[in-house]
């Protein structure tokens, strides 16, 4: 249930505070819209958008304010998760936030000039990066907050009271799972302060969306969370279908549920395999990764690709399940079960595993919600928020499954929640296969779904539909819409602004990994260096989704 409101900018901060007190205490996303090329003139050229969820996890509030001046009061005093989200808006749109303590670029490099998501910024105008941000100012400010350094009158910082060693973990480091830079101040092995730098894989997804048709964007969504490509396809296709006001036939919905759960298994397998390698438990990598290969074989048969499947389309999917799908699926699920069982038998009662993971990298439920954590990471802290239960779609309410929650919110819980989710997903898949309805996989609407090839080659209507849909794209009614699903890493949402054409005017991804990494620094401070590696692994940061 989503509510869209427009508020005058001067009342915005008070309004958000009031809503926070009413229970809208879970910030999903902050973004801006540049209306300068929109079909009809708006009140002002720029608007800022806040998407906030109620703590009952059912209602969503989308608040929009037009900006006369490019400055807004920061809401970091209400939501800690707003910190990086505001930095991103500043980086991409050049909107300043009053009261934000560290308003620096987050995705683009430090030498970047301009704000790329403004309509006036040409999409292909690249800028070489010749410098590296030393992050020392931010580090000093963090240390200042912990009274480890003092600020002198001339603005410089005095020597540290402790004998600190500064260390860069990444950007290119085997434990950083992609390219993430963690800059640490170490006292012995203990992390006194941490500063995180991301954006190394910022490849302009949102800007690219603005010059591709809706179906052309599907392959781009594959590469957000590339460990579970289909779940991104589904999240995007479902959002656009909701804007179009169409619903899939039950068979299409069931196939999507099935593939969503298979993606979840696939994603958790690689996350768990990688974190166990980080811990030195190499054997488990083979146990967990080989079942993934079996899933790849299944997906290759079904979609033609192993990893980046691009299987969904607006209004359905490319093709129906293949003939031997069921036996291939059962074989894959069997392999998954074997792999999970073997791994658990090695780690469940393993003292080293317990010592390395328990009470490490803890985040409390209150902090986790305030920092906008989502998915397995949030559930590990004991918050039973799962969109599949709280705001079900595609008939999730008809399947029987449990929501796995942790009790401490440490690395152990985050790992174990994922193991349990693999089991629950397997159970959902089995239920879907038992009740798989017959019928169409695509919506019956020639203005949305491509005609079949026979029609294209033999009828004039077919040729015209094919041409118009390919050339102009699916026409989505003008408007602004936020849609989301429970993807493998949590709530994956798309905020889309349409101007009625076949190309979105603006797309913003609410990326679970982005908010997770913004909470990471607070989670590792006070723990040891080796714990930081496991904490990062347990958050399952996928760079494609985090940096977009």
């Amino acid at each position: 249930m989503s509510n869209y409101i427009t508020i005058a900018i001067e009342n915005l901060h008070v309004f958000i505070e009031e809503k926070f007190a009413e229970g809208f205490s879970y910030l999903l996303d902050i973004t801006a819209i540049d209306y300068s090329e929109y079909i009809e003139a708006q009140e002002e050229e720029f608007a800022i958008v806040y998407i906030i969820r109620h703590k009952d996890f059912k209602q969503i509030l989308v608040i929009k304010s037009y900006l006369a001046a490019l400055e807004v009061q920061s809401i970091t005093d209400i939501f800690s998760g707003a910190d990086w989200l505001e930095r991103e808006v500043y980086d991409q749109y050049g909107i300043k936030f009053k009261g934000h303590k560290n308003l620096r670029r987050v995705l683009n490099h430090c030498a970047f000039v301009g704000h790329p998501l403004r309509k006036s910024y040409p999409i292909t105008k690249g800028q070489l990066s010749l410098c590296v941000d030393d992050l020392q100012d931010e580090m000093n400010n963090r240390l200042l907050g912990k009274s480890v350094v003092c600020k002198l009158e001339d603005g410089s910082f005095s020597d540290c009271s402790k004998d600190l060693m500064f260390l860069n973990l990444g950007p290119s480091h085997p434990a950083s799972h992609g390219t993430i830079r963690t800059y640490l101040a170490l006292d012995g092995e203990t992390i006194e302060a941490a500063v995180i730098e991301i954006g190394y894989l910022h490849r302009g997804f949102e800007k690219s969306c603005e010059n591709h048709t809706y179906n052309q964007i599907i392959p781009y969504t594959d590469r957000l969370n590339y460990c579970s490509a289909i779940s991104n396809n589904i999240a995007f296709a479902k959002t656009v279908e909701d804007m179009l006001g169409v619903t899939l036939h039950p068979r299409g919905q069931a196939i999507r549920v099935l593939l969503l759960e298979l993606s979840r298994i696939e994603d958790h397998l690689v996350c768990l395999a990688a974190i166990l390698v980080d811990m030195g438990a190499m054997t488990n990598y083979w146990y967990m990764y080989n079942p993934r290969e079996t899933i790849y074989e299944l997906l290759s048969k079904l979609t033609g690709a192993r990893l980046t499947n691009s299987y969904m389309r607006i209004g359905g999917m490319t093709n129906d399940l293949h003939e031997e799908f069921e036996s291939d699926l059962n074989n894959a699920l069997l392999k998954v079960k074997e792999g999970v069982d073997e791994t658990l038998s090695l780690i469940k009662h393993n003292r080293i595993f317990h010592d390395r993971t328990q009470n490490i990298g803890i985040i409390t439920p209150k902090d986790a919600i305030n920092a906008s954590l989502t998915g397995p990471n949030l559930r590990a802290s004991g918050v039973a928020y799962d969109m599949r239960k709280d705001s079900p779609y595609y008939g999730y309410e008809n399947y029987e499954f449990d929501v796995a929650v942790g009790s401490v919110g440490d690395v152990y819980d985050r790992i174990m929640v994922r193991f349990e989710e693999i089991k629950q997903s397997t159970s959902i898949i089995n239920q879907v296969m038992k009740t798989m309805p017959e019928g169409e996989i695509n919506v019956k609407d020639a203005s949305i779904v491509l005609p079949n090839k026979e029609a294209v080659y033999t009828t004039i209507e077919g040729v015209m539909n094919q041409f118009k849909l390919t050339y102009e794209g699916v026409k989505v009614p003008a408007g602004e819409y936020y849609g989301s699903i429970e993807a493998t890493n949590g709530e994956l949402g798309f905020f889309i602004v349409s101007d009625g054409s076949g190309t979105p005017y603006k797309v913003k991804v609410k990326a679970p990994s982005f908010t997770a990494i913004s909470a990471y620094a607070d989670m590792i401070e006070g723990f040891q260096l080796a714990d930081a590696v496991l904490t990062l692994g347990s958050l399952n940061i996928i760079a494609g989704e985090m940096d977009r």
Partner: protein, 172 residues
């Protein structure tokens, strides 16, 4: 050179050219350094795992320190922000060294023709082999490795081959 032929008496003396002996030794002891940034890195995980098993070809000693590696595999999109890092890693590798560009993004920027993505790593470092695909299948990377090994064995890649290369980040 026939060293691998079974049945040679143990006291056989072999006469060969030094460069051929070196090529033969290098061929099966390439130590890759993976500069994995995105989706292609996940496919590299498959190449390293049991099914495709890169160790069958003597290139499984994956290093994460450029100083210990002689084969740089760039697996994934390289953005402008990452450029200086990749360049530094390449510079830290000692000769002889080879570079495989894995996937469309590393080779040409792929379908990310926009403000943040470098349009191919050969804008900043020289590349010996390009592997197409988004991402390439594991077989494709293994094929690139075998191609490289064949050339390494015959010393086709002379150390001065990139002498005239000038990247965007050189001398700026």
């Amino acid at each position: 050179m026939g060293l691998a032929e079974p049945g040679l008496p143990l006291d056989t003396a072999i006469v060969t050219k030094l460069e051929e002996a070196i090529g033969w030794a290098r061929e099966s002891s390439l130590w890759p350094m993976i500069f994995g940034t995105a989706c292609c890195a996940i496919e590299f995980m498959s190449v390293a795992a049991s099914k495709y098993d890169i160790s069958r070809f003597g290139a499984e000693v994956v290093r994460f320190s450029p100083r210990q590696a002689d084969l740089l595999i760039v697996a994934g999109t390289v953005t402008y922000k990452q450029g200086p890092i990749l360049k530094q890693i390449y510079d830290q590798m000692s000769e002889p060294k080879w570079v495989i560009s894995m996937g469309a993004c590393a080779s040409s920027g792929g379908f990310y023709d926009n403000y943040s993505t470098m349009q191919g790593i050969d804008k900043i470092i020289p590349v010996d082999l390009y592997v197409g695909g988004c991402p390439p299948r594991p077989e494709a990377l293994l094929d690139a490795l075998l191609t490289l090994q064949a050339d390494v064995k015959t010393n086709k890649y002379n150390p001065d081959r990139h002498k005239d290369f000038k990247g965007l980040l050189d001398n700026v």
